[in-house]
């Protein structure tokens, strides 16, 4: 194919979008609407999964030590825990720090209750352990507990990570993620169907033209190219609209709700972090659907 012919195909594809005004409008808007819904759900889903990750990442293991552990033993244990592959971070919390934390968490009224414990602190020393992968927390906890066997006298009194709470949390976040995935997949499929149907309609209307082109000696690819370009243009236009709307809408939402959600400890993914990615995904889907929709539909009429 010559370059000038390629240019012609692009010109013809563009012209065809204009010539088929209403049909182009129908195709582009069905793409736009589907992608808008898909985009909103993707945005919701990404935020939800970001949030669940955030929550998951807050789980940690508390390792309480026996009261009579020496400083040396603490140091070796610190290192041993740190060497476990699941462990990301080990922080030592001395009994004094523990008391301070407890005082803080109980609030002002409790200050008096804890008065006088400074001299004779009943709390044990402890480690706070964070893991790389929140879902491995159970395994990590077991491994930490197993470290006890290295010592004749158990150094670790108790390993606690709120087993039941954490497991419930994971079950919930898993369900949320599955639901989101299912919704997005379903939406993608229905929009694919809707869009390719609309595009098919525009091409059925031009079936006669395709027949004439073939009679004049046009090869299949010569006929297909402009349709390909046309599909790409429709797909791009159709995805640009929801991208702009969602971008702007999300930007407004983040701006106006930062305070409210901030108090509720929910972090929304910042616009500049999520929107470029989402836009690329939507435009990619739009382009693919437009191109596939038109080339697959035109294929049926090429056997003349």
């Amino acid at each position: 194919m010559k370059i000038s012919t390629l240019g012609r195909h692009f010109r013809e594809g563009g012209k065809s979008v204009l010539r088929n005004g209403w049909m182009s409008f129908a195709s582009a808007s069905s793409i736009a609407i589907s992608l808008f819904i898909l985009g909103v759900f993707l945005l919701l889903g990404m935020n939800l999964s970001d949030w669940t990750k955030e929550v998951e990442n807050q789980v940690e293991i508390h390792v309480f030590l026996s009261l009579d552990t020496t400083e040396e033993q603490i140091a070796t244990l610190h290192q041993a825990i740190g060497n476990l592959e699941e462990v990301r971070l080990v922080r030592f919390v001395s009994k004094d720090e523990g008391l301070e934390l407890m005082r803080q968490s109980l609030g002002k009224d409790a200050e008096k209750i804890l008065d006088g414990f400074e001299e004779d602190n009943p709390l044990p020393d402890s480690f706070t352990v964070e893991v790389h992968e929140p879902r491995q927390i159970g395994v990590a906890a077991e491994k930490i507990e197993a470290l006890n066997s290295r010592y004749s006298v158990p150094l670790i009194d108790k390993v606690d990570y709120g087993k039941n709470t954490v497991e419930t949390l994971f079950r919930i976040t898993e369900i949320i993620e599955k639901v989101i995935l299912l919704l997005v997949a379903g939406l993608a499929l229905t929009s694919m169907f809707l869009i390719s149907n609309t595009i098919k309609l525009t091409i059925v209307a031009r079936r006669r033209e395709i027949g004439i082109m073939k009679l004049v000696g046009a090869t299949n690819s010569f006929i297909r190219w402009p349709f390909f370009v046309e599909g790409a243009i429709l797909g791009l236009i159709g995805s640009l609209i929801p991208v702009i709307v969602i971008w702007f809408g999300y930007w407004e939402l983040v701006k106006n709700s930062q305070l409210t959600f901030g108090i509720m400890m929910i972090r929304m993914i910042p616009v500049e972090e999520i929107m470029p990615k989402l836009s690329l995904v939507l435009m990619g889907i739009g382009l693919a659907i437009g191109v596939l929709g038109s080339t697959l539909s035109v294929r049926k009429f090429l056997r003349v």
Partner: protein, 225 residues
Amino acid sequence: MQDVWKTYPDGTAALRGITVTINRNEFVYIVGPSGAGKSTFMKLIYREEKPTKGNLYVNGFNLEKLRQRKIPYLRRNIGVVFQDYRLLPRLTAAENVAFAMEVIEASKKTIKRRTAEVLELVGLKDRMNALPSQMSGGEQQRVAIARAIVNNPAVIIADEPTGNLDPDTSWEIMNLLEQIHERGTTIVMATHNKEIVNTMRKRVIAIEKGVIARDEARGEYGYED
């Protein structure tokens, strides 16, 4: 075009054993009652239909061995003209003619020059920017002829080109075809027009019930309709 031999039973047996040779630079009328197989005969030549049996050579192409993908290249050597014109409805006269040249990837300059040339030949130079819907039947048929000849094909296949036109316009079209014939193009034309066949005497091949009933050098129409 040389040595055409084809059999075509297709449930309805449109053509049943036809052997005919149409030589280069001939002008041939295909006549016969409706449904006798004229259109099938024409369709076989530009390979819209495939013979169920037999061999067919067009312009050096062996149609039996012609691959699906090569059909466009056969058609570029054949200009087709139909009763219903078959112009691309959203293209102007000039664009319709130019389309046939874009298909063969001619240069823009050549396309422009040649399009103007053939439109002048068919007498439509001043109508080149009109859409088919804005033109009369005769004008549309002349655009179709311009499109058929723009690539200098060896053969023109005309399936009842005057079928939808009044007598005066029909004669204009016939004069145009005669002119093109004189320039060295083979013309195969199916027709129901008795007056034309009997006046502009050419070779006549009559097809009846799928077989050749008559083949005369300067024949008459020979039917009363």
